[in-house]
Structures are given as structure tokens and as C-alpha cells.
Subunit: 395 residues, 2 copies
């Protein structure tokens, strides 16, 4: 048995976070995290819970009563959505066009569901005609899709069409909004999304640990009338209903500090205005995109599916993505990421989310990336990036 | 759809936390939480993960390689333990002597296990003879017990005897150490505990959100040789093994800030020394106990099972526990709690954990509680509390 370990003061490097998340956290949110705690059943915390729910509804563009933070990171809200909606015997339709469809499949199977697929290659959105065909063939009970694919930088268009198809087949729709909530247009009620989940460390620019989830009454009715209990006690919404609903009865200890932080991050959204925030992401990420394109790099997604919050940029021929990412981290304290799965080695993933979606970050990103590519021998026109960015910002 | 909600600055009341958790958080831990984030795959975060694992091993008194924080609050580490160890077809033996045995049962059933009981009334520890009899009768595969029952203020003695019985029957032992880790003597390896879990917001005095779990190789071998996948993707240790093991491969985004905080809370333990910390809890909580007894109040647990971190004090005849708890909160910004389940209305639950286990907090608690009881017409000798406390502290 070891003696007491001697561990130094916490002094992590001062990174600029332009990867797929976490994004840079706003100083006001960091400060909220150092607030002394009240108890999770304190009347003052109940008030804070109400405020967080109201702010979350605003960000999701929903009136859903069942709008809460799940006590875990984004994958916990994802599993809460799938594990509650999918019962043994249910069939869930999931997409094949990115990393997170695969995770949906694994969660649905563990919940006791059968999984069927709607096909699309990595890097492309789902085609409504393919979704319709998959519905006709499989008659799934639940349909999951990824609104903003963090693995490919693709934004799913036509969401109202997808939900219409699902509802015509009496199915429930679960949207993965991990990389869209608070950064990319998302209208839960208007678009007919039954369930949506997200993570806080993307466009909300909040440390991970309490993750947004919203369900409409139709979906919650399905959860509350399940025959078999949800397979996770921790994520069982019929139990969480006691804590986040009218009773405020003890279920588990909420991550109090993470709820404080989420409240502050959502306050920043309310102050900015959700539509203004979507515009800012489009504008600032548009400048980032103009900059990398001016350098001679290529975006992985066509413009009509471009996801402002996550820019998938093709690695230039002959360049070593790992070396470039390492150079940016070592020389510039700047985080970006490489590709996952089918796109490993093919793309850089450059986030432009929340507090990171600022000209300051984009300027730094473009200038550092230009240097890194040059240092690694890639044939790019680094000097063209900043003028193109500035011009686009001025538009 | 609502307009942007107007929500004020975060200004929760400044509570003194002497309930069943959260406890008061040390200023150094609060400060760690305002540290800007690095990515969850950043090399510097990998180093922080190593340090947290080493510090957790020290606190658990274990050499277990599989010692990690689970990305959720204490109930998540509890479900990670039970949901991974218990496979469909397994039988789990759980206790009936408090609230958390019931939660173990629900989690084991959801994992597909059969549940059998070892009986003991609320407020008493398990008798090894009863455990032995339950093993002989049911031959369970997994045995869970609660080392420190937060609902009753009872400390389970004879842990090595319980684990010996279980191992003689080839079973695995899961210990609930939520309210003991870092405050009450707990020796995972020496006592033969196969799996133990805890929460950070009790004797570690850390905000909830990343929760300690340790498994020995024998238990992890069972997890890794399961026939059916764990029913939660988020809590599947065979997947988490990729992130917290040698590969450091992406599974989910860790709650980075909560890991920072846990690191600082565990550093404080290493600096104090784990045995010195157990002594402090015994000494300071002993003074609290001497104070309430001098007032004329009665402890719910006999001295030999007394749990220093959670003092269950009988509500005096005729007193209204809710009114007293409300008075303390309103007049003194002081949190204590009432009883749960079989003990609702019968006891006060007064925590003495971590940074709250200080003479300052105990003095304030005794003086405020004396006033509150008097104000509610209870017949107590409030003036006797502080001298008795001071005398005990001087011992």
C-alpha cells in the first residue's frame, strides 16, 4: 500500500480550445463554478432548478415541461433519451452516417431494442426518401438521428420532413443535438422533435457534467407507461420525475456546481438572444471557413450541409494530421482534433462553439494552423487566410 | 414559446452544510473548479487522470489498478458497481437495514439479477451470523452491504468477517462507502472488499459529479468475461477500461472540472494523512455527539455502531423535526436533515464530514440547534452542549 502520494498544485496548460469540445468556457461560467454549494434539496436550489429548466426551454425552443439537465456528461443524456424511450421489443431506426449513430445503436440494443438502419455514407446527411423507405420496410417505433454530426461536420437539413415521416408512422423522434444546441438553429417544438439531448461543453461553453434533455408529453407518456422498468436506475426518468417535477423529492444528489455553471452559461445565451447566437456562430465560423479555404484547404462537407460549430477540413495530401495537431498543441497551446472512424486521418475537426466562436479564437486558429501546415511541409497559402477571414467578418 | 428569460446573477444563500451531504467544500477545491479546462484527451489531462487514480487508491487503501472516478454522482458509481458485477441470472444478496439496501436491490434487478435479503432492522448493522445463514440458504453470487448507512447513522463493523464469509462462498463483495471514504476507517485491500464505491460530496468535501469506484482484478475479471453486455453503455466498465486504462482512448467526455476538484480534494487528504483524517472525524464528531447528549438528546445508534460522519439524533418527544430543520435553515443558514423511510420524523441527520468536521462548524451547530429546539418548545438543556463539546475536544 502506497504512502500518501505527493501531488503538485493543479497547473494545467492554458489551452485555446478549438476542437470538437470542450470549448473555451466563459469567465463568468468559471466563476459560477467556484460558488459555495447549497444542498440539493435546499429551497434556494429548487429555485435554481426552475430557472435552469426555463433557460433550457428557451435554448431548445420548446415549451416541454420535461426539460432538465441529466447528471452526467452528454453520453448520459443520450442514454437517458434512448434507454427510456426504447423498451424491450421496440425497434429503433438509427443512421449510419457518422460515429454517433453507432453509439445510438449500442445504447438501443442494451435497452433491449432491435436496431435497423437508414443508410448514408459518413460525411453526408440523411436523405428523407431513404428515411421514408426505411420506415416502410421496418416500421420502427423510435427514430434517432444526429442533428449536428461531430464526427463529420455535417448538419442534418430537412428536420421537419424527417419528423413528419416518423410521425406518419407513429414513431418517436430522438434528435442528437450535442453539437447544435446553443450554436446552430434548432427548433424542437416547431420541427416536431419528440426528444432532444445535448452536452454542455460544446456550443453552451460550459464544463461537462450536467447535460440537457427535453421530452414532449407524448414521449414522456411512453416512458411513464412502460411495462418493464428502465434498465438504469440512475437514468430512469420516471424516478427523476420526482426530483425535477412538482415534488422535488430526493432521487440522487444533483451535481450542484455543474447546475450552477449551466445556469450561468444559459444566462449568457438568454442575454445574447438565441437567434443572435446562431447568427454569430454562422458569421464567425463562416470567417473561419473562408480562411481555411483561402489557404487552399477543402471542407469535407458541401456548403449546404456545413456545420458552423464543427468544421471538418480535409487534411492536405501528404500531410500528417497527427504531427500537425501535436505541433499546434505543443507550440501554440491550441487544441483541434483529427477524424474518427471512417474519417480517421482524412480530416481535421475544428470547433467553433460558444465562447470559442469569436474572431479572437479564429484569428489565432488560422494563423497557428498556417504555421503548422507550413512547418510540416504542406503546400498551403497561409498568408491568404487572415485577409479572407477579415473580409468575411466585415460582410 | 417564451422570450428570453431574465434570470438574475447567481446568489445562493451562504449555508453551513451539516446535513447528509453535500458537506462544506474547502476553498482550495472551489478554486480548482474555476480553473480553465483542457480537453479530455489532452496529454496534460491524462497526467491528471493518473494522479487522481493514485490519490484515490491512497484514500481507499488499495492497490487496485481499477480505481477511477465515474462521470456522475454517487448513485452513478453505485450503479456502475452493481450493473457491471451483476449479470442476468446472478443472485445478489442485499441488506434491509437502511435506505440504500433498497436502492441496491432496484439496481440489481434492473441489471437482470435476482435479489435475496439479509435481514436487520433499520438502525442496526448486519450480524455476520445472519449473513452466513443467508449465504447458506441462497448461495448468492454478489453480496452488497453498506459500510456507512447515511439513512440511519450506523457504521457496519466486522467487515473482514463479512468478506470472509462471502469469499468462502465464492461470492463478490460490493461495499457502499459513500459516507465513509475519507472520513471513517476503510481498508479495501486489508478487509477483502472486492468492489467499493463512494461519492465526492460527503467526507471528501468535493462537489458532486465525479464519483470514486474501485474494483480488484478478481471483480474486473468477472466484468470482462460477462456473456451479455452491461445494460448501460455509459457505465460499462469494459468500455471505460479503454479510457482509464492504458489506451486513454475516447469513450465519453469526462467531467473535466469535477476531476480537477476531486484531485484537489484528494490532495488535501494526502496532505493530512488518511489515518489522521479518520482520527479528526472521530474526535470532532465525538465532540458533536458529546454536545447533543449533554443537551439531553439521544443518539439513534448504540456507541459501538456510531458513524462519526453521520450522526443520527433522536427527535425529542413532541418536537416537530420539520419545523426545527426549517428554523435552522431560515435563522442560521444551517442545513441538517430529517430521517428517511422507517426513520422519517424520528431522527435528525447531522453530518460531520470532511471540511465540515471542524470545531467551528460543530460549535455553530450545537449553539444553533440548542436555540432551535428551545424556540420550538423542546425540553433540552441547551447550555450544557458547548462545555461538553469543548471538554471532549480537549481530551
Amino acid at each position: 500500500m502506497s504512502d500518501a502520494p505527493v501531488v503538485d498544485e493543479l497547473t494545467p496548460p492554458d489551452r485555446t480550445l478549438m476542437g470538437p469540445g470542450p470549448s473555451d468556457v466563459h469567465p463568468r461560467v468559471l466563476r459560477a463554478m467556484s460558488t459555495p454549494l447549497v444542498g440539493h434539496l435546499d429551497p434556494s436550489f429548487v429555485e435554481i432548478m426552475n430557472e435552469v429548466q426555463e433557460l433550457l426551454r428557451y435554448a431548445f425552443r420548446t415549451d416541454n415541461r420535461w426539460t432538465i439537465p441529466i447528471s452526467g456528461t452528454g453520453s448520459a443524456s443520450m442514454e437517458a433519451a434512448i434507454g427510456n424511450l426504447v423498451e424491450p421489443g421496440d425497434t429503433m431506426l438509427v443512421p449510419t452516417n457518422g460515429y454517433f449513430g453507432g453509439r445510438m445503436q449500442s445504447m438501443a440494443e442494451r435497452a433491449g431494442g432491435e436496431v435497423v438502419h437508414v443508410d448514408a455514407p459518413w460525411g453526408e446527411p440523411l436523405d428523407p426518401a431513404d428515411v421514408e423507405a426505411a420506415f416502410d420496410e421496418h416500421q420502427p417505433d423510435v427514430f434517432g438521428f444526429v442533428h449536428a454530426e461531430t464526427s463529420t461536420g455535417v448538419r442534418q437539413p430537412n428536420v421537419p420532413e424527417l419528423t413528419r415521416i416518423a410521425h406518419e408512422h407513429d414513431a418517436y423522434v430522438i434528435a442528437d443535438a450535442v453539437t447544435s444546441l446553443g450554436g446552430v438553429e434548432l427548433r424542437v417544438d416547431e420541427w416536431g422533435v419528440d426528444v432532444a439531448y445535448s452536452g454542455p461543453q460544446k456550443c453552451l461553453s460550459c464544463p461537462p457534467g450536467a447535460s440537457p434533455l427535453t421530452l414532449n408529453d407524448r414521449a414522456m407518456d411512453k416512458v411513464l407507461s412502460r411495462e418493464e422498468r428502465v434498465r438504469s436506475w440512475y437514468l430512469d426518468l420516471s424516478l427523476l420525475e420526482g426530483y425535477w417535477g412538482d415534488d422535488r423529492a430526493y432521487h440522487h444528489t444533483a451535481p450542484i456546481t455543474n447546475v450552477y455553471a449551466l445556469r450561468e452559461a444559459l444566462r449568457l445565451i438568454a442575454e445574447e438572444g438565441i437567434e443572435a447566437r446562431w447568427d454569430r456562430h454562422r458569421r464567425v465560423a463562416g470567417a473561419l471557413k473562408a480562411g481555411v479555404e483561402a489557404m487552399g484547404l477543402e471542407m469535407n462537407a458541401p456548403d449546404e450541409y456545413w456545420l458552423p460549430s464543427l468544421n471538418a477540413v480535409r487534411v492536405p495530401d501528404g500531410a500528417d494530421d497527427g504531427a500537425i495537431i501535436g505541433y499546434l498543441l505543443d507550440e501554440y497551446d491550441l487544441e483541434i482534433a483529427g477524424g474518427l472512424g471512417d474519417l480517421a486521418g482524412e480530416i481535421f475537426r475544428i470547433g467553433c462553439m460558444g465562447h470559442s466562436a469569436r474572431p479572437k479564437n479564429v484569428t489565432y486558429l488560422l494563423s497557428s494552423l498556417g504555421d503548422a501546415l507550413g512547418a510540416q511541409g504542406a503546400d498551403v497559402d497561409a498568408d491568404a487566410a487572415l485577409p479572407a477571414m477579415t473580409e468575411r467578418l466585415a460582410d
